[in-house]
């Protein structure tokens, strides 16, 4: 009898665990990648990766998968913006004329659907003519509403078989109107990277994946002891050198007077 009871309890527990897990998966998206953003030189958001000027050279680079679609994801930040470059390489004819890439941002590291409040979308209207529009939406109960004021920037360019999408998203934006997620230094945020081919959101989203981006903290503004020592030494060296130079010029003029006196 006891054995039977134990089996029943065990079965119920397994069923409950499975159902809960399924509900959890359906409710959230589930992060597939974690990216540590690093400080670096800010790239020019023009849809073009200029290798000659070492653009994006310090970015954290990862390949992520939007289900079966591989995408190159580069992330870098400075003390104002978070920069994300997404590159999709498809064979000729596979790029949709009205494809888009969207970044849906959670207000925390939470991957629950209701926490994704902000969306930045670059929508091509004609990919072969490189015609696109950058949209900034806020999300309320899965309804996408356009922001009164565009926050951040996004540019896309199609080159060869690769479409390059570049985003800049402000960090610690003091003028945040509440329509955007306020990103803070040192915090982690879930970013839902989405791909679609129609101008309808969220219905047009065909593929998506979540990445967790860890923003780097602002470097301390206080100089280290070794830096202070170096700067003080530098000032001392240049000051002493300046004084010695002045003394040397004085000696030259003294010598001139001496020579003049000897000549007389």
């Amino acid at each position: 009898m006891k054995k039977r009871t134990f089996r029943v309890v065990l079965c119920i527990a397994i069923v409950l665990f499975t159902v809960n897990s399924l509900l959890f998966v359906l409710d959230g998206y589930g992060a597939s990648e974690e990216i540590d953003s690093k400080f670096g030189e800010s790239p020019v958001i023009d849809g073009y990766i200029d290798l000659q000027s070492d653009e994006w050279v310090k970015a954290t680079k990862k390949e992520i998968f939007l289900e079966d679609l591989p995408i190159k994801c580069w992330v870098i930040q400075n003390d104002e913006n978070l920069y994300i470059s997404l590159q999709i390489e498809l064979e000729s004819g596979y790029h949709n004329t009205t494809e888009f890439i969207g970044i849906i941002i959670s207000n925390s590291s939470s991957e629950d659907k209701e926490n994704f409040k902000d969306a930045k979308i670059i929508q091509f209207s004609n990919i072969s003519a490189n015609q696109f529009t950058y949209f900034d939406y806020y999300i309320n109960n899965s309804v996408f509403s356009i922001d009164n004021e565009n926050n951040g920037n996004g540019v896309a360019k199609m080159e060869g078989y690769t479409s390059v999408y570049e985003f800049s998203i402000p960090i610690k934006n003091d003028t945040n109107s509440g329509e955007d997620v306020a990103l803070n230094f040192g915090d982690s945020y879930a970013f839902n990277i989405t791909y679609g081919d129609t101008t309808s959101y969220p219905n047009g989203i065909k593929k998506s994946t979540i990445v967790l981006i860890n923003l780097e903290s602002v470097p301390s503004s206080l100089p280290t002891l070794s830096n202070v020592f170096l700067y003080v030494s530098c000032i001392v060296i240049f000051s002493v050198l300046g004084i010695l130079y002045g003394f040397y010029i004085y000696k030259i003029f003294k010598l001139k007077e001496k020579i003049r006196r000897i000549k007389r």
């Binding site: 030189e41 000027s53 070492d54 530098c234 050198l241 010695l244 130079y245 040397y248 010029i249 030259i252």
Partner: protein, 138 residues
């Protein structure tokens, strides 16, 4: 036949030549010191990072920044050594190793904020010293 004896004429010629050499040496002392001073000021602006226009703009501009810093220090060293060398010659003393070491140390001291500038300057200064040593020998 000349009324001035030949020996006196030679002496006068020698005196004139020595005077001209002296003037040339003195001018060289002043001109080299002025150039040394100009490069010292340029070095001051770049090596203390008062001017940072080339910083954080990519590898190429960083290289240009390092190049300017190194060249100004090397030219400062070259002109100051020339000036001090001629000054010492005018007062009748040779340039000794202490003065050379002092200028060398103050030149290398200017590179304190950048390790790459330090490495290239050290290399350049060693080359300059070898060059100066070789031309002294000939």
């Amino acid at each position: 036949m000349s009324k001035i004896p030949k020996q006196k004429k030679n002496e006068q010629k020698l005196k004139k030549k020595s005077k001209s050499d002296e003037n040339f040496a003195f001018r060289s002392v002043i001109v080299s010191a002025i150039f040394g001073g100009i490069f010292f000021v340029i070095s001051l602006f770049f090596n203390t990072e008062i001017i940072t226009i080339f910083l954080n703009r990519g590898t190429f501009w960083t290289f240009i920044d390092i190049l300017i810093k190194v060249i100004t220090i090397l030219l400062f060293f070259l002109f100051m050594i020339t000036s001090i060398g001629n000054y010492k010659e005018l007062i009748g003393k040779p340039l000794n190793w202490k003065e050379l070491l002092l200028v060398f140390l103050f030149s290398i001291g200017q590179t304190i904020l950048n390790v790459w500038v330090f490495i290239f300057t050290l290399f350049g200064l060693v080359l300059l010293l070898i060059y100066l040593y070789i031309i002294q020998e000939f």
